[in-house]
């Protein structure tokens, strides 16, 4: 979710040459949010309060019942302070590359902590997508560097 909101916000002020990339990756990230929410929903939908408590989700159940909520693994709610938008193309794109690498690493830790092979499969898919996104953002940095250099000559 942080990724989607970050890119779709930064796209307003990023140079035209890479607007499409931020737009499209931002949209794909919303699809990823839906995938993750689906996994959590399916894993918890038939759980009893007792099972929720045993799974370490007792506090979540008290506040949110069987519903989903935007908080991290430690129960800290999502906040806009997690993302940045500086209006500076290089600062924004490096932040985006870092976001993709952090997401990739998080998926790796999730893959290692679960023994559910179906969840592992889905997480591996998401991990690979973050690798592709990171590569595309790195290319975007090069595109903007080239563009800036060419401006100096002509």
């Amino acid at each position: 979710m942080s990724a989607a909101l970050r890119y779709l916000n930064q796209r307003y002020t990023i140079p035209d040459k890479v607007v499409g990339l931020l737009n499209d990756i931002g949209t794909e990230e919303f699809a990823h949010l839906e995938m993750i929410a689906t996994m959590i929903y399916k894993l918890t939908k038939d759980a009893t309060p007792e099972q929720m408590r045993e799974a370490g989700l007792g506090d979540h159940f008290v506040d949110h019942g069987p519903s989903l909520f935007y908080h991290n693994a430690a129960g800290v709610p999502w906040t806009a302070a997690y993302i940045q938008s500086k209006g500076d193309p290089i600062a924004d794109l490096y932040e985006d590359i870092a976001a993709e690498e952090k997401a990739r690493a998080t998926y790796q830790w999730l893959i290692e902590i679960t023994d559910d092979v179906d969840i592992q499969d889905s997480l591996k898919f998401l991990r690979e997508r973050e690798v592709v996104h990171s590569i595309r953002f790195r290319e975007a940095v090069e595109i903007l560097k080239e563009y800036n250099d060419s401006k100096k000559f002509y």
Binding site: V18, L21, D24, I25, E34, T38, K42, H133, R136, E139
Partner: protein, 86 residues
């Protein structure tokens, strides 16, 4: 609750659509940073045409895929399964 629409044919058609959608998403992002690659644009257009045909057949049978999707019958409107119920 098991949705009557979500039969074997539904899952088979959905998987075909998802496969082609995946290829399109991948080409989409690639083209964002390689817009000069005519071969990739050609591949994108071919797959997109296939996807249109596939999506039309899917919507005719199972209902709209998106809010502006086509639908042949009011019976298929506002009916699941939603993505998280599949």
């Amino acid at each position: 609750m098991v949705n009557p629409i979500a039969n074997d044919a539904y899952y088979q058609s959905l998987q075909q659509l998802q496969s082609i959608d995946f290829a399109l998403v991948e080409l989409n992002l690639y083209l964002d940073t390689h817009p000069e690659d005519n071969q990739a644009i050609q591949q994108f257009n071919e797959l997109r045409a296939q996807r249109d045909t596939m999506a039309k057949a899917f919507e005719g049978q199972f209902g709209p895929l998106m809010n502006y999707g086509s639908t042949t019958s009011s019976q298929l409107w506002n009916r699941g399964p939603w993505p998280w119920q599949v």
